[in-house]
């Protein structure tokens, strides 16, 4: 297996996002991680589902890196999931391709953590907004890993960004080193 981890980055304007750009460069620096810049690969929002399924087949972990736009991922990531997680592959009859693979979200938000709480601007904890992704993982038989969240991305200090980047890096290193449950079970 060439690259056990697929790191999908979904940001329509990566040049403008310091945090997402930094995390993408960290992902690129780790051996065993394939980085897919979604808006670069599909600038016209046309997602080639079968090509993406091939890409995922030999991976043990999927990481989705994105900013929160209106309480969800940017549109193209949803389109990517819609086109890629198809019947007979991700779910339904013979749809077992994702079973046992890990899914982890790596998220950057504009607001501070306290805005995601009762009485804050967004009323609910971020975790609740991530429910569709969590359920998608469960529905497809994937292992849900704790999301990595970087709050208040634009206003943060450089040191914080570097520290978070290091955290991401060590997570990636672990994931590259650890085969998924399924492979462990098959003794691969």
């Amino acid at each position: 297996m060439a690259n056990p981890v697929l790191f999908v980055i979904a940001h329509p304007d990566l040049g403008q996002s310091r945090a997402n750009r930094h995390f993408a460069s960290i992902a690129k620096s780790v051996e065993g991680v394939e980085v897919l810049d979604l808006y670069k690969a599909y600038p016209d929002m046309f997602v080639d589902g079968s090509h993406e399924r091939h890409r995922i087949n030999d991976k043990s972990t999927l990481i989705l890196q994105f900013p929160i736009y209106w309480y969800a991922a940017p549109g193209l990531l949803k389109e990517w999931i819609d086109r890629t997680f198809s019947y007979g592959w991700a779910y339904g009859t013979n749809g077992h391709a994702l079973e046992g693979k890990n899914l982890m979200l790596s998220i950057a938000t504009g607001s501070e953590e306290r805005a995601y709480a009762k009485g804050g601007a967004h009323q609910y904890p971020l975790k609740e907004f991530l429910l569709p992704y969590r359920q998608t993982a469960h529905f497809c038989g994937m292992n849900w890993l704790d999301p990595l969240v970087y709050y208040h991305a634009r206003a943060s200090e450089k040191e914080e960004l570097l520290a978070h980047g290091n955290m991401l890096k060590s997570r990636l290193n672990e994931l590259v080193g650890t085969p998924s449950e399924l492979e462990a079970a098959h003794g691969a």
Binding site: G49, Y87, T93
Partner: protein, 632 residues
């Protein structure tokens, strides 16, 4: 000349052909090569040519052409933006240098009139040598290049008032035997002031008006005729006419050519003019350097070796100190300052003219003029040597230390995008790019098309884009991308191959006609191409599907799937292009594959599969869901 014309040509050309490449290869630079060739064949070398003055006079026309070309490159508003450097760097350089040298002359018991002329004459640098070096190093767009050019330009302008005041500086004891019929300046003073003014105003007005309104229709007419050498003839005629007009009003021909060039700088024929004049300029300038080499009077040098050596060194040191100080005031980086000081630290060809004229006007003793001419000639020879020393010894240290704070190149001088072919295709590409604020240099070879788009305020240059020299004149050395939007596929391929060879740094984006042409372009290493009717065909296909009852989005998606498949097949077929059988087989299987690909894309989100989500049909999913819930 005692030799026949052909023999003289043979001597000059062989000297250049033998010595210059050798000088260039050993790192001495072409200017030094020409000068050496001149010394070798001159009266004090092998003595093959004995009449350097005639040739010097003839070849000075190379300097005129060079100034014409510089004028072409410089629009009036660019000149305006240089005003600080012209008057801040150029004027003090001339005045201070002249003053210092004149004082030294006066203290060495020269008559004050002659001392002033010596100061003014030696303050001028050599436009020919300096610009040739700037061009060879490709630093015209840098701070050093622009600053040096500003100084040279101001010096060229200064020649006019200097020539005007020389007759006033005539020495009383020489006036008696001044040859009255010699020199054009003498004639000028004989006329009344208002006559001169009227003549000058008339000439400049004529030049400006004809440059603006008369030349364009003429050039268009000639361009339409399609006879290329006539356009070249016209280009030469323009320069010669400008020089003649200027001579008539006693202004330096070089300055006149510069002004005509500037008037034509915003004309659509600018790049064509540039590439036509360029080879003539190059050869004549070479000839000019050779004649400077030949005209060094080694007799005078041998009689006064110490005096001349100290004059040459003194001249270089005084000039360098003054230039260095000016560079410091203008806050040049130390490496730039050094180059700026070295590059301009010589006497110039206008010095020869001034000293000759001053002798004729009785303002300078002939023996002084001889000494000064030799000094200027030698100082011209040592400039390339000093540059060599700078490159080998000084610059590596200076540049290494301060590489980060060097001034960035002035990219505004050149556009980053060149578009070849401004027809229906090129216009669409260009409008998209220029709407983002990029400047594009547009080139087309159809004079009527150029006229047509001019009505919409679009500037398109006339020229044959298959010529490397034309592309160089259009700035291909500095450009980032080159868009070939020409209709004829053979021309597109030819240009792509030529550009890959001469300007390998440029990204080529090409218009391909069809599949075969796309393969030809791939042969040339072009990877960014679009078949010119492919996408418009697809767009109409989408409309057809919609008319047939497909939803808009579905139709778009099918077209997109088709396009991706087709482009993939294009690249696959390229691998097989030498095997006709295999290619036909590939085309057949590609057709079948297309049906499959399009069907598989339908399946992904097909509403027919919507019942997949109803729980009865997929018990294992419910089971899995339950399992997931119980984990929470």
């Amino acid at each position: 000349m005692e030799h026949s014309f052909l023999l003289a040509c043979f001597i000059f050309l062989s000297a250049a052909v033998i010595v210059v490449p050798f000088a260039k290869a050993t790192g001495l630079g072409s200017v030094l090569g020409y000068l050496l060739a001149g010394i070798i064949i001159g009266p004090f070398g092998l003595g093959l040519v004995t009449d350097p003055e005639t040739i010097l006079h003839f070849s000075e026309f190379g300097v005129v052409m060079m100034l014409f070309l510089i004028g072409l490159e410089l629009q009036v508003r660019e000149l305006w933006s240089m005003r600080n450097k012209l008057f801040g760097l150029g004027l003090p350089q001339v005045l201070i240098t002249a003053l210092v040298i004149a004082l030294i002359g006066y203290m060495a018991s020269m008559p004050w009139q002659s001392a002033v002329i010596m100061g003014l004459g030696l303050a001028l640098s050599s436009t020919a040598i300096v610009l040739k070096i700037i061009e060879e190093r490709g630093i015209m767009a840098t701070n050093t290049g622009r600053s040096a050019f500003s100084v040279l330009l101001l010096q060229d302008i200064a020649v006019i008032p200097i020539l005007a005041i020389i007759p006033l500086l005539a020495l009383p004891e020489l006036v008696g035997h001044t040859p009255t019929d010699d020199g054009h300046g003498g004639a000028a003073t004989a006329e009344g002031g208002w006559q001169v003014a009227a003549k000058t105003a008339f000439v400049f007005a004529t030049m400006y008006l004809s440059g603006r309104y008369l030349l364009r229709p003429v050039m268009r007419f000639i361009a339409k005729s399609g006879v290329r050498e006539i356009f070249t003839a016209l280009s030469l005629l323009l320069v010669v006419a400008a020089a003649l007009l200027m001579e008539w009003i006693n202004v330096s021909a070089a300055l006149g050519a510069f002004m005509v060039g500037m008037i034509l700088a915003d004309s659509e024929y600018r790049h064509e003019l540039e590439s036509d004049i360029e080879p003539f300029k190059g050869l004549l300038l070479g000839l000019f350097f050779i004649s400077v080499g030949m005209s060094i009077e080694f007799g005078v040098l041998l009689d006064n070796p110490v005096l001349i050596a100290s004059m040459v060194i003194g001249l270089a040191v005084i000039k360098m100190v003054i230039l260095w100080s000016l560079g410091t005031i203008f806050r040049f980086h130390v490496a730039d300052r050094m180059l700026f000081a070295i590059i301009l630290a010589q006497g110039g060809e206008f010095g020869f003219v001034l000293f000759q004229f001053a002798t004729a006007s009785g303002a300078l003793l002939p023996e002084h003029a001889d000494l000064l001419n030799v000094t200027v000639a030698i100082s011209m020879v040592i400039t390339p040597i000093l540059i060599l020393i700078y490159d080998r010894l000084l610059s590596p240290k200076l540049v290494k230390d301060n590489q980060t704070d060097r001034e960035p190149d002035d990219i505004s001088v050149r556009n980053r995008v060149i578009v070849l072919g401004y027809g229906r295709f090129g216009q669409i590409v260009t409008r998209l790019i220029t709407a983002q604020g990029f400047d594009a240099t547009l080139i087309d070879h159809d004079a009527e098309q150029i006229d047509l788009v001019k009505r919409f305020d679009t500037k398109v240059f006339f020229g044959d884009a298959r010529r490397a020299d034309l592309l160089a004149a259009a700035g291909a050395n500095q450009a980032h991308i080159l868009i070939i939007a020409i209709h004829n596929p053979n021309t597109v391929t030819e240009i792509a191959a030529m550009v890959k060879k001469h300007f390998p740094h440029i990204t080529i984006l090409a218009r391909a006609r069809d599949r075969n042409h796309a393969h030809e372009l791939m042969d040339e290493g072009v990877t960014d191409f679009v078949r010119d009717t492919f996408h418009s065909g697809l767009q109409l296909g989408i409309k057809a599907l919609v008319a047939l009852g497909y939803e808009e989005h579905r139709a778009h998606r099918l077209a997109k799937t088709f396009a991706r498949h087709d482009i993939k097949m294009l690249h696959e077929a390229y691998e097989l292009k030498d095997d006709m059988e295999a290619m036909i087989g590939h085309a057949r299987s590609a057709k079948e594959l297309l049906a499959q690909v399009m069907e598989s894309d339908l399946v992904d989100l097909d509403p027919a599969n919507a019942n997949n989500w109803t729980s009865e049909k997929i018990p294992d999913d419910i089971e899995r869901e339950n399992k997931a819930r119980s984990q929470e």
